[in-house]
Amino acid sequence: MMGAILGQGGVELTDAGTVSAVLFYVFALLTGGAALAVVFSRNIVRTAVALLFTLAGVAGLYFLLSAEFLAAVQLVVYAGGTLILIVFGVMLTSKSQFARFEPKLGEVIVAMSVGVILLFALILGIFHTTFASNALSLDEYPVAKLGQVLLGDYLVPFELISVLLLVVMIGAAYLAKGRRRDEPRTEKPTLSRAARQWS
């Protein structure tokens, strides 16, 4: 139905395979290269920028898999929201302009071993899964379907996740507030009455 209404839309490729293969490698390279930059850059803000490219590359891969909703969510939540909060946090907390990571040897070893274990687990998982060759038919309207499934069959997990997020938010607010209360007041305001009125 959608195709009929939207009329003459979309370039239908005769050799769609080649184009999507090329694009897959472009996005994969972008994701991988930017991820390496995340690991090896010492400058926190540069790391965040590299992470932006990683996330955008992953969003591109989602697009290639026709998971457009997931791609858009990836961009809104991670690239648009989380990353900006990270940079904002760095701006507020760092003492020098270009804060640098100086990891200790122990931290490097722990992080590397966790990474290697994760990599092996993922590879094992991939080899032990049998993938359906042609999993989805895309003639339905996938976003509406996704919404119905999320708020229908998977309503309880969906709500649980939102409760979890709420708990995290309240916890963060509590921590931020509690620390401020403990701070001893060092100096009294010595403003004139007029200045106090306008400050």
Partner: protein, 460 residues
């Protein structure tokens, strides 16, 4: 990289025609070349929009401040932006010695590329969307607008200048506060429409002014205004232009930029203004449709004819219809942009904490109430589903009652009357101001009388 993902989706009704004329086959090379050409074309369109808006903004500002504005380059100064562009191209491209050079150079592109990519989802006409099959169109544009912020923050940070960092930090905390009311007010509209696809959004509003989404129920009507205020903050437009408040922070996040890199931020800003205007036109104000539903009616007929016989007159009819649609859509978007300019030159700038207060404590609860209200409203008084002229006759009120949507129809008509009343009051106001402005201007230029003669002129 964002450009690549936008190129992914290049499409048009013209493309098969070109292929046929050239006698070529569609292969990977052709598609790539075609995408590059299309991207270049869109780059041109965005630049043109930005240049026109910059000239227009200066004209509007001039008339609001009882002066004339640019009037030297070309007739009524219309080529001013072109002259400015030449100047900016020739200026020295400075990078501060203590800046983070890589990020400093990257930031303008990071601000501009998402705006460029957002254009692929804008429905200029029934068949003139770059990617009509993008089922998450509205969401995609929202994503691009939020990625654009990253470029602005990086510009401020990488400049290593205290004014620029203040601008960047203001942008970051402003973004955190406006984005949620912006998203929720979009959801109110989308909930009424039942789709995120921008082209589909256009089609369901084709039955005349009372089928536009803004008039579907009172909550969408109010959500439009919430969205408008939040979108001002999103575009860094006054009164929410805290990131570049030129009276306190020199120029905010782009203090250190010069030349072409500086102009990229302006292309991004005016491009984003057009996109936000485009969302409001497409999501609330009927997209490319006229207020009488003529274009929707014509499109259904033209499409039926085209499906039977895709040659000659039928193609011409469809093309003409699209061209008219583009005209109407762009007019609506420019109307929204005019209101943005009007507010910019009217309102003073609040402090950053007042902006956060307005977004988080006023707009956000309002948007949440509207979301709940719209949900309850749809449960009690269901909207009429389907596409006007195809599934139902929009102007036949008796048919609405027969189909069991009488209450919805009456609501829409009443809201439409309210909307038309408000709109004509505003237009009348602007017309009155424009008509009387000339007299006021002459009055202002009269020499002011002196209260008393200055001491140094008094003869002893």
């Amino acid at each position: 990289m964002l450009m690549v993902s936008s190129l992914l989706a290049a499409t048009s009704i013209v493309e098969p025609l070109i292929l046929e004329q050239l006698g070529l086959e569609r292969n990977a090379l052709w598609v790539t070349a075609y995408m590059v050409v299309l991207a270049a074309m869109f780059l041109g369109v965005i630049s043109l929009i930005a240049m026109f808006c910059i000239w227009w903004e200066r004209k509007v500002a001039g008339h609001m401040q009882a002066r004339i504005g640019p009037n030297r380059v070309g007739p009524i100064g219309i080529l001013q932006s072109l002259a400015d562009g030449m100047k900016l191209l020739l200026k020295e491209d400075l990078t501060p010695g203590v800046a983070d050079h890589f990020l400093y150079r990257l930031a303008p592109y990071l601000a501009f590329a998402p705006v460029f990519a957002a254009f692929i989802a804008l429905p200029f006409g029934p068949n003139l969307t770059v990617e009509p099959r993008l089922n998450v169109g509205v969401f995609w544009i929202l994503a691009m607008l939020s990625v654009e912020v990253m470029g602005v923050i990086l510009a401020g940070w990488a400049s290593n200048n205290k004014w620029a960092i203040y601008g960047a930090m203001r942008e970051a905390c402003q973004m955190v506060s406006y984005e949620i009311p912006l998203g929720i007010s979009i959801i109110v509209g989308v909930m009424t429409a039942g789709t995120l696809n921008m082209v589909m959004l256009g089609h369901i509003q084709g039955g005349g002014i009372h089928t536009w989404l803004i008039y579907r129920n009172p909550f969408v009507f109010l959500a439009f205004f919430v969205f408008f205020v939040a979108s001002l903050a999103s575009n860094k437009r006054a009164p929410f232009d805290l990131p570049e408040s030129e009276s306190e922070l020199v120029a905010g996040f782009h203090t250190e930029y010069s030349g072409l890199r500086w102009s990229f931020f302006f292309f991004a800003e005016y491009g984003a203004m057009f996109i936000v205007g485009g969302i409001q036109a497409a999501l609330f104000l009927g997209g490319w449709h006229d207020p009488f539903g003529l274009l929707g009616w014509w499109y259904q007929k033209a499409l039926a004819n085209y499906t039977i016989d895709p040659t000659g007159m039928n193609v011409a009819s469809l093309l003409l219809l699209n061209v008219i649609g583009v005209g109407i859509f762009v007019t609506k978007a420019l109307g929204i942009i005019f209101v943005q300019m009007w507010l910019r030159w009217t309102l003073p700038r609040p402090r950053i904490d007042q902006v956060l207060y307005a977004c988080v404590k006023v707009l956000l609860p309002m948007a949440c109430v509207l979301l709940l209200g719209a949900a309850v409203w749809q449960w009690l008084i269901p909207e009429r589903p389907g596409i006007p002229w195809k599934d139902y006759q929009p102007w036949d009120l008796a048919d609405w009652f027969r189909a069991g949507y009488g209450a919805a129809g009456v609501t829409q008509l009443v809201l439409t009357l309210v909307g038309i009343g408000m709109f004509s009051a505003v237009v009348g106001w602007v017309m009155y101001a424009a008509a009387t402005g000339r007299n006021n201007k002459q009055r202002l230029t009269e020499p002011a009388p002196l209260d008393r003669v200055p001491d140094n002129l008094v003869k002893a």
